[in-house]
Symmetry: C2
Subunit: 230 residues, 2 copies
DNA sequence: CTACTATGTGAATGTGAATTCACTTTCACA
DNA sequence: TGTGAAAGTGAATTCACATTCACATAGTAG
């Protein structure tokens, strides 16, 4: 009451709202995301949201944009970082995990019903986002094949989906276990094995994969962040 | 109105309702599952549901029971079918896909927000179901190691999660693409590669993995069904 | 300083769905 | 055949939200 809510330009508010939405989704899930909670998070009154978005649908679209952008940004980053396809994949894996761990809203949106079942347009949108990502991964693999770094007889598309498979179940376990499942450790171990499939020079990464479960007490490593979230 | 709704013993109704729920989830998603729709599906009036369940929560619990049971049934089946660990895994993969393809409600429930975010007890329940399944898979792997069929230096737990990874992303793509993504083909290709990781005798399944995408027009093979659904 | 416009507010309205309850009907069994 | 418990019904209640709208106010441009 003392300080009335400041008025912010709609462009900035839209971004604020979008981030707030992703954050709320991370904490309480997409189903519990509602205009009221969103407004409270941003510090305005519910009806104010409508000054910046058409409604929940609009907000969700915006969230999807953010997710899509984040995923593709990671691809571009690893491409700049190293020329070696295998190394690119490895780093992409790490970045993906880092992204997801800092923004648990992302997997929640991806796995969400609202996306599978809701609005047909949104479903298609999400599908496109995933396909684009997979396509980029497949491109990396193809380039690795061209450089004879990766076995030529395997299908890039299949491998791209398998790459996602290194991440997804682990993330689900992570979400379900409230963070107890150590996704990073799992990913590293899985990567070792996975690498063995890909490499041209035949020798798998059979150096010391220890027999240990992936349950630890939360937390772990933390690759440097560099995402435009707050 | 002519024929009034027959009265059915609660035990049977419960089962009817549970299956109806899974079926509705398959068609419209968990979020759209509501007492009204469920009642209509079963052919009774909404309030009648409360004769058999405490409410949506009760129904959901029952659905989780059904899912858990289906998953474990598959494990037992493959164990009976063959003694070879690798073959058991391969068949489990096929059965899992078959199950999921006939009951799309299952992955929808597993991926669902309602499970991740809703009721804490339900989340834990789902987590337990998954963990149990993974544990069974890990056991198969361990037995394969004991029989020197599978490389001993790899962690059964990690591999079990990777096994899930052969399935999950494919199923998600399948759901998002309205069935266009050919999960079965993907799974077979991925299995070939995956097998190469596991086998003791070193030679990967490098026989002819064709370079083809997995998009086809719906449908495909269809392993024999033997699940207690209708 | 004035006035315009973009933002923010709070009250009001509307809707869909869960749940409850008093009442009715059917079924099984004595 | 009669009766009590189990199962089904429909109306009423409540609730949580989304959405709208008339009004208030803060930036800012002239």
């Amino acid at each position: 009451m003392n300080r009335p809510t400041p008025k912010i330009k709609t462009e900035i508010r839209r971004e604020q709202i979008t981030r707030a939405a992703l954050s709320l989704i991370a904490r309480r899930g997409l189903n519990h995301l509602n205009i009221g909670a969103l407004a409270r998070e941003v510090g305005v009154v519910p009806s104010a949201i409508y000054r910046h978005f058409q409604g929940m649908d609009g907000v969700l679209e915006s969230v999807l944009d953010l997710i899509s952008q984040s995923l593709l940004t990671n691809v571009e980053a690893v491409r700049r970082e190293t020329p070696d396809a295998l190394e690119q994949l490895h780093r992409l894996l790490q970045r993906h995990l880092q992204l997801v761990r800092h923004h648990a809203g992302i997997p929640r949106v991806i796995f969400s019903e609202q996306v599978f079942a809701g609005n047909v347009g949104r479903k298609r949108r999400m599908h496109t986002i995933l396909r684009n990502y997979l396509q980029k991964v497949a491109e990396i693999i193809r380039s690795g094949q061209d450089a004879s770094r990766i076995r030529k007889e395997i299908s890039p598309d299949t491998v791209a989906v398998m790459f996602l498979g290194l991440i997804q179940p682990a993330v689900i376990l992570w979400l379900m276990s409230n963070g107890s499942f150590d996704v990073v450790r799992h990913a590293e171990q899985a990567w070792r094995l996975f690498c063995g499939i890909l490499q041209s020079d035949g020798h798998a990464g059979d150096d010391a994969i220890l027999n240990q479960t992936n349950i630890t007490t939360k937390k772990g490593h933390d690759y440097a962040t560099e995402h435009k979230f707050n």
